[in-house]
Symmetry: C2
Subunit: 514 residues, 2 copies
């Protein structure tokens, strides 16, 4: 069948199950109950949950063939926990595991071996980078990888669609009763927000820590009431891979100009006012946007409301300078953000569900005035691809891109018109991750295009001095400069299904034909 984004979707994907085609960003609201894991009856007590090795945890639960083990990606490319858990599984001869992580990074190339050996047969993640992506693209998994948005992953866990048998939660500090936090310790990473749904709904919860405290923590994010085992290990990861030490400001004049124009768009729409709420990302243009925004708000004496997301140092500075009242942090993106969340009472940790799940009584992305998002490609219908590269292969993740686009009042894509020698605007993006109906404005170095669905924004930008084009005009400029990109030939083999945040299938990734 053809879904509402125009993509052909099968009724069923092996290893995924029945597929519901994407119906429109807000069109699907099925009757569901929340997940109902087994009630545990653990008589807790100091140290009673502490088990000295992962192997003993595997035996205590016990972990069996075919189970789903979940992980979070706050340790990013420094994570050591997924590898050590999978290694334990391999040593115990366990097969057919599903690895459901909120993210998979180049460091997880350590898992390649366990896929080859059949220990891991399924991946479920918001993004896949490095050699694991190659393995997926080569069709070496028996079933398609499942790609979910950050909000969609929370929804799937909270609604019982990802049934987690065991959540392994890396924590830089935990206590002997199981309370755990990301705020302190050698490998502190700040918010542990992506792991909160896992902790709430997994059948078993294991904390893996390299700093086990003998006193009850006075601040924690994962409560002992949800935790069954605590495993001390020598190291949960390499802090150098966890967070970049400092923000790298772009000096590229083109990127700076795009950022300035994005601020102009938001200003022309009258949104930079007291209470203004926004999300920005970690790319060079996004960081420059935040800097220019802060400057403008400071000059005008505007007191913003809140910022959401992946939090970076520039946003924490806005909080500390009184330009914002609250930060909602699902992932602390750099060391400045890690330090801020530990220090500032109004820098709040939030769960992935509070951030972006579409199936609850209202997540916070719904409350955003604006979001600044990136794209690998955008097409004439404003659909965005943030997953697959110029060669048609998975190279990144959908993350919160589709969530924040759906939630924010005004969604702004910032992008150079050309990426290397390729146009950023195409007839059809290779993989639809974020549907065009949720994308409002494209700001490029060759001008601004507004989604025709948003005549209110077009009206708002008239007279702003910004150079407005249709997206077709911008595409024509790009193609004049470097030609029309060729369509990437693919085979019939589906190597990944891309879920929209509501659990419908918005697109699939096919193996590339060579």
């Amino acid at each position: 069948m053809i879904n509402a984004a125009g993509r052909k979707i099968a009724d069923f994907y092996p290893g995924y199950g029945p597929a519901v085609p994407f119906k429109g960003a807000f069109a699907y609201a099925p009757e569901l109950h929340r997940a109902a894991p087994h009630v545990r009856h653990n008589a807790s007590g100091k140290g009673k949950k502490v088990i000295s090795s992962l192997k003993e945890v595997f035996q205590a639960i016990p972990i069996r063939d075919g189970m789903t083990l979940s992980f979070h990606h706050h340790l990013r490319n420094g994570d050591a926990v997924i590898k050590m858990v999978c290694q334990t599984a391999a040593e115990l001869g366990i097969k057919d595991l599903t690895i459901a992580s909120s993210g998979l990074f180049p460091v997880h190339s350590a898992l390649d071996e366990y896929i080859r050996k059949g220990v891991i047969t399924s991946l479920d993640s918001s993004g896949i980078m490095g050699s694991l992506a190659h393995i997926v693209m080569d069709g070496k998994l028996p079933s398609p990888a499942i790609v979910r948005t950050h909000g969609g992953r929370a929804r799937a866990i909270e609604c019982g669609q990802i049934k987690i048998d065991v959540a392994f939660i890396a924590a830089p500090v935990a206590d002997a009763w199981g309370n755990a936090t990301g705020m302190e310790g050698r490998a502190a990473f700040g918010s542990i927000g992506y792991a909160i749904p896992d902790a709430q709904y997994a059948e078993n919860v294991v904390i893996v820590t390299d700093d086990l405290r003998e006193q009850h923590l006075s601040r924690f994010s994962i409560p002992q009431t949800l935790v069954d085992y605590v495993v001390p290990v020598p190291s949960i990861g390499d802090p150098a891979g966890i967070a970049t030490g400092a923000i790298r400001w772009t000096k590229d004049p083109i990127q700076l100009q795009i950022a300035r124009d994005a601020v102009k768009v938001v200003d022309a729409l009258g949104l930079i006012r007291d209470g203004y709420s926004f999300q920005t990302g970690t790319g060079g243009i996004s960081l420059a946007y935040t800097r220019f925004l802060a400057q403008l708000m400071g000059e005008r004496g505007v007191k913003g409301g809140f910022a959401v997301g992946g939090i970076t140092t520039p946003v924490t500075q806005m909080l500390e300078n009184g330009l914002l009242q609250t930060l909602f942090d699902v992932q602390s993106f750099d060391l400045g953000a890690v330090q801020s969340i530990a220090r500032n009472a109004a820098h709040l940790e939030m769960s992935a569900g509070y951030y972006a799940s579409p199936f609850n009584s209202g997540c916070i992305v719904n409350d955003l005035d604006t979001t600044i998002i990136s794209a690998l490609e955008i097409d004439r219908n404003f659909n965005i691809n943030v997953l697959t590269g110029n060669d048609g292969a998975i190279m990144a993740g959908v993350g919160g891109n589709p969530d924040t686009a759906a939630g924010a009042n005004v969604t702004i894509v910032v992008s150079n018109l050309l990426r290397g020698r390729m146009p950023s605007i195409v007839d059809n993006v290779h993989t639809i991750c974020t549907p065009g109906e949720t994308v409002d404005v494209l700001v490029t170095d060759y001008g601004v295009a507004v989604n025709p669905r948003r005549s209110d924004i077009i009206d708002g930008l008239n007279g702003s001095g910004l150079e407005l084009h249709s997206i077709d005009e911008l595409q024509a400029i790009a193609e004049t400069l470097c030609g029309k990109p060729k369509t990437i030939p693919v085979t019939d083999k589906v190597v990944a299904v891309v879920e929209y945040r509501d659990g419908t299938i918005i697109d699939t990734v096919h193996q590339v034909a060579h």
Copy 2:
């Protein structure tokens, strides 16, 4: 059938359902799943949940005959919300409601009328005071009232045994998206911990507030993701009824002596050491215990771990003076505690489940070194009655008494040997609330008795200088002084079932024969 506490329990109680007899404090661990309420699909947005009257909320949900409405008791005897909700129900002609509140106070005599009219036909609470208790005792409810411990109520909600159709959560401050807190506002009451399970598991959640904020709160306890409606009202209650302004220290030399002896017991057992954790109550002896304990710890330079509970000013002073590291607060018992939880980062709010639910991966009462509890009566098997008075009528609540007794390493009952002209020690307590197997030490003004089950404690107290007796000896002293109390005659009619924290029936309250 006769349960493990020796009480006769029916197989079934109308309005309650099948009854499982009490089997022993830790003997019952049924296979259960967590509650799974319907998933809501609310597109939130500033003000979209705000509804101007309770009547409109009733119509929007809609609330129908036979539903269960839940409430919390943090407003205590100042609460105005239960009354206004029931009044709305009456005006709309709704019948057969169950009122499931974490507590019912004399102020709730306003509900008498709605019971007479059939609007309310069932009560479910951890305690019932005032005229509602008379109504229950008079058998005017069609089915027995259900009395649950604080931890048992959390368990029942979390495990789907209390199915809440609508949770009405009084909040002194909320924002236009539904985030709510008890920390601020005219009627600030501090921790909102008893309402957290309701918010997590009710089918519908309504915040009732008299201070609606236009900006997202920077600190909140009930997240917008769980909240469906926000109703602004002129007043959620009378702050004068919420908290006593200041602690009333007892000057009674007998009570002071009991408190000193309780400290001596704990000290003789070697528990007053670094990391010591405890719960105390709000009675005169309990408060004096805290004061003497703080003095001793200060003199010796002991750094305690944490205190739990109903938090009072003396405990917050221990935190602020460095005698404790953390407070876990499910209910802030006085204005000093309300101010402390708003001010001190290590004064943590906790849910009723984290406090005391027996059916999770380990609640914090399990981690207590000691708890100091009170009793209306104690019997020769160390069973405790905290529910019914000398006349056999319900006059108070079980609260956290059974929970903390089960959890703590050493449970100490502090009591005058005589209450007025009645012995505190009886052959059989009128109503068993806390089973004797979980009660370790009785400290009275005539000496100390240790439960024979705890030979380790008896050994520990030898040579302490404390006057040790068997409980039978203390009972004999009491009866020498004022005679043996008469057994209270009762009819066959069961007016209340008393659930143990695990959901088994530990006792029932019968109508008193006149």
